[in-house]
């Protein structure tokens, strides 16, 4: 079986698995990294949102064989380390606003929010209402209002 190598939450890892297995299953089923959640498997619900080289992606829709050895995959578990703190400012905002209800979608929501802030900063601007409207992550508990508030707060503190 092919050996797959990539950087996961700051550490290079190698795993024996076929090229076409999607990254989500490599993370969850083979590596026991369960922060990214399954909600659809077709890049629709975004519950598995993680980062690749600092940008948001859906691990359910990427073959592990398409990762390069130096690709850096960051899941919610590795997010605090990217700022060298116990919690990323976006996570702090989430706790402060008591956003989570069941919590199932929240790792993906937070990873999407962090990527959104980075994206608008690359574009030299701040988050707009229409950016928030465009977030695709589903929260079936419907706590969207608090998600929006927390993203605004997290943006200020990032």
């Amino acid at each position: 079986m092919p050996k797959q190598t990539f950087v996961l939450n700051g550490k290079s890892i190698t795993v024996d698995v076929h090229d076409d297995v999607r990254v989500l299953w490599v993370l969850r089923d083979l590596l026991g990294v369960t922060g990214p959640k399954y909600g659809c498997g077709i890049n629709v619900c975004k519950a598995c949102t993680s980062h690749i080289n600092g940008r948001a992606f859906s691990p359910c829709s990427v073959r592990v064989g398409d990762l390069r050895p130096d690709d850096e995959v960051t899941t919610i578990e590795g997010l605090p380390d990217t700022v060298g703190e116990d919690l990323h400012p976006m996570q702090r905002a989430w706790v402060d606003r008591d956003v989570a209800q069941c919590g199932y979608c929240q790792p993906g929501q937070i990873m999407a929010a962090v990527a959104l802030v980075r994206k608008v900063r690359r574009e030299g601007r701040a988050i707009t209402e229409s950016d928030l409207d465009g977030i695709r992550n589903i929260c079936r508990c419907g706590t969207y209002t608090r998600i929006r508030e927390a993203i605004r707060q997290g943006e200020r503190q990032m």
Binding site: W25, K37, V44, W94, C105
Partner: protein, 779 residues
């Protein structure tokens, strides 16, 4: 239930006394201090009622569930640990509604312990609790409020007794604060140090008084969820995150039509040779496959060549089911009112909707020769245990059922479909399994809210409503999870007047009658449910019947008001017969700026709902102008935009206002989706929806930019239900606003059901393949 006058019905024997009451409980034998209370201690607040009442005013679903707990004289225990924490395993399920947090608050309050030192976990199936382990009907806090406090108060009393000996001071002179007991001389001892000293070698009965509400310092204060940190760090464990040795990913290839069954798998050898695949087994619901990864399960399912038996709704569609409902509709009665009265008559249709959570149906099962262990999100774990034992040919005590926090429920987890299926598969394969439904399986084979028609005939004359008759006709709602059994065991205990009314009704009709209440002075008011067609997988979706009945009622109320030349708000304030509901309505109207001038195509709507020992009022503004309806958002179904929502909720005594507000936010998202966007389409014997890009639950592009929740002050000593309290009035307010903005009377919900906004995914194979282009869509 008719509006004739009669003497107030005396229920004083059941009324909750305003005085402080003593409760009996137990200090249990144990290594550390264990205090116990009878879970049946809860007593619903019922007072004398005025004339002209509907059943829920006298006795509602909350009372029924609470009373069902009474005969089960079994104990719940609060344990004080040597590390100074208190622990409690609640026999209910946390699904996001915040009951572990609010229950920890009750214990922290009585114990004078910091909230973060109270650890609330979920109890496994406890068969001795009989019917007192069901999470539903927004009843958890209603039914556990008193017993949990009693157990904590007993623990506190035992700690004080032990401290008195330790510190050489009288109990009455000791002060407890934040887990430390201090004597007048300044010496102190911690709960942790007292945990073993306060332990008892025998069980003994003790009497306690609970803290007075005026002394509350935790109850009623906004607190964050106890699992907030775990949720945001990815550490919160759901069933599929548990590590159970050998429990490999497992999925099921499901039939192309609803509830079809497998005849045989033609290419078993080929499937077993696929990468990662370990086992294949036929079960009654389909062909199960167990593999190293879920991705390999999906690959295997897509390759399976299965011969299927047709399902029971082969060839049926929305239209044929609706025609069947129409046939089952009972004619509306000709009201016995003044012949000069004006009649308003409307008929509404509510399509099938999916109650699926974001966490799909799933369970871990490890079935051995001599016993089985299950891990799953289960709101009725005792029944799950019984059903699993039956399916496996085991005795109930051979099956251990662990209740795991759920990634949402919305009624879905009342059923143990996945747990039973996982147990069968584990037994068939002889291996532990981690069974997960594919998302596509959920709307297609999972539990749905049934299709319903609601007809209303109302009459009015000279500014008075003389009669209001509502007849719902519905595909059968499955209550096999046990509410039915509660009813049979409890109905005799209900007040006589109620028992007479409910006697002879079916289970669903009883639930309907126990929950539906139209709190307006509308003369002759009747609301009834008739059911037909039990071929669908249905269940009690969040707030069960109420969103549909409220939408129908409130739209008709707006029409009556218009015919009378009255403002919708003024009309409601005039006719509401309940002060709490009226106050909530006034609050929503004031805070939301009712009546403010809006452009054409934009309108306000306002609605109320009374249930769960409380009342909710909602004001919304909706923008139905073409530029908004057609706004372009990538891969989004947009439509009318609710631009503002203001909710006012009276939930009685509030334990955690921050949690209550969260439930209102979520309840609104659900209610708005029911009215505008969320439905399942039945065609040719199967539901077309297969994922979140087909089933349009509320998304960020639907969320009102302005959103407020106002928690009404209450002097009630009784907590109300929160989990479902926001849904019905939200659905109704959005419907009323839409009707006013468009100048139409919408009669089918959701309003976009007529447009199929997606291309249905394949039925064979039963699951879609995961894309591979994820790296093209990074941001």
């Amino acid at each position: 239930m008719t509006a004739h006058a009669h003497d107030p019905l005396s229920l004083s024997g059941r009324a909750l006394s305003v005085r402080r009451r003593s409760f009996l409980g137990y200090v249990m034998a144990g290594a550390t201090l264990v205090a116990a209370a009878d879970l049946g201690l809860a007593q619903a607040a019922r007072g004398a009622v005025p004339s002209g009442v509907q059943v829920p005013e006298l006795y509602d679903l909350e009372d029924l569930q609470t009373d069902a707990a009474q005969p089960t004289a079994n104990l719940i225990t609060v344990t004080i640990n040597e590390d100074g924490t208190a622990s409690f395993a609640i026999p209910r399920m946390e699904v996001g509604q915040g009951i572990t947090t609010s229950t920890a608050m009750l214990i922290a309050e009585e114990l004078d312990l910091p909230l973060d030192k109270v650890i609330v976990t979920l109890a496994p199936a406890r068969p001795e609790l009989v019917w007192n382990q069901l999470t539903g009907g927004s009843n958890t806090t209603v039914s556990t409020y008193t017993p949990v406090r009693v157990a904590a108060a007993i623990a506190k009393g035992a700690l004080l007794d032990a401290a008195a000996i330790q510190l050489g001071a009288e109990v009455a002179r000791l002060q407890s604060h934040e887990g430390i007991i201090t004597a007048p001389d300044g010496s102190s001892v911690t709960y942790g140090e007292l945990a073993t000293r306060a332990a008892s070698t025998t069980d003994r009965t003790v009497q306690v008084e609970l803290k007075d509400a005026s002394d509350f310092s935790v109850i009623g204060t906004p607190r964050n969820r106890d699992d907030a940190l775990a949720a945001v760090t990815g550490q919160k464990k759901f069933a599929m995150d548990l590590h159970v040795p050998g429990a490999l990913p497992t999925m099921v290839c499901r039939p192309p039509t609803l509830n079809g069954t497998p005849k045989r798998l033609l290419n078993k050898r080929e499937i077993l040779a696929m990468p990662g695949v370990k086992n294949v087994a036929k079960v009654d619901t389909g062909i199960a496959v167990r593999a190293k990864t879920f991705g390999q399960c999906i690959d295997a399912i897509r390759k399976m060549d299965v011969v299927w038996n047709p399902g029971p709704v082969e060839g049926e569609s929305d239209q044929t089911i609706l025609a069947r409902l129409r046939k089952a509709e009972v004619p509306l009665a000709v009201p016995d009112v003044n012949p000069l009265a004006k009649t308003v008559e409307e008929s509404f249709t509510f399509m099938f909707r999916s109650s699926a959570a974001l966490e799909p149906n799933c369970a871990v099962a490890d079935v051995r020769e001599d016993g089985a262990t299950i891990w799953a999100g289960l709101k009725v774990p005792i029944l799950a245990q019984q059903n699993i034992a039956r399916a496996l040919g085991m005795t109930q005590d051979q099956v251990r059922v662990n209740v795991i926090t759920g990634g949402g429920s919305f009624g879905h987890k009342l059923f143990s479909d996945a747990a039973i299926e996982a147990a069968k598969i584990s037994q068939a394969m002889g291996e532990p399994v981690r069974l997960m439904w594919h998302r596509a399986d959920e709307p297609r084979q999972g539990r749905l809210h049934p299709m319903v028609t609601s007809r209303i005939r109302a009459t009015h004359l000279a500014g008075q409503v003389l009669s209001f008759e509502q007849r719902n006709t519905s595909v059968v709602t499955d209550f096999s999870h046990g509410l039915g059994e509660i009813i049979t065991s409890t109905i005799d205990e209900a007040p006589t007047e109620v028992g007479r009314t409910l006697g002879g009704l079916g289970f669903s009709e009883t639930i309907f009658t126990l929950t539906q209440e139209l709190p307006y002075d509308f003369g002759l008011v009747t609301q009834l449910l008739d059911e037909t067609d039990d071929r669908f997988n249905t269940g009690s979706m969040r707030n069960i019947y109420s969103p549909d009945t409220a939408v129908a009622n409130e739209l008709v109320i707006d029409r009556i008001a218009k015919q009378m030349g009255k403002d919708p708000l003024a009309f409601r304030l005039e006719f509401l017969k309940d002060d709490r509901t009226r106050a909530a309505l006034q609050k929503a109207a004031d805070a939301g700026g009712w009546g403010r001038k809006l452009p054409d195509g934009v309108a306000q709507g306002i609605a109320i709902h009374k249930e769960y020992k409380g009342a909710t009022a909602v004001l919304v503004e909706i923008d139905c102008r073409p530029a908004t309806v057609g706004r372009d958002i990538y891969h989004a179904v947009t439509g009318p935009r609710v631009t503002k929502a203001v909710l006012a909720v009276d939930a009685g005594l509030v334990i955690n206002p921050r949690g209550l507000e969260a439930q209102m936010i979520g309840g609104f998202s659900d209610g708005m989706a029911l009215t505008l966007t969320s439905s399942c389409h039945l065609r040719d014997g199967h539901f077309l929806e297969a994922s979140w890009d087909n089933y349009f639950y509320t998304r960020q592009w639907n969320v009102p930019p302005e959103f407020e929740v106002h928690v009404m002050p209450s002097d009630s000593e009784q907590p109300g239900g929160a989990g479902e309290a926001g849904v019905a009035a939200s659905a109704a307010a959005v419907a009323c606003a839409y009707a006013r903005a468009t100048g139409t009377m919408p009669t089918r919900f959701p309003i976009n059901h007529g447009t199929l906004s997606f291309k249905p995914k394949s039925f064979v194979p039963s699951v879609p393949q995961s894309p591979v282009n994820g790296l093209d869509h990074t941001y």
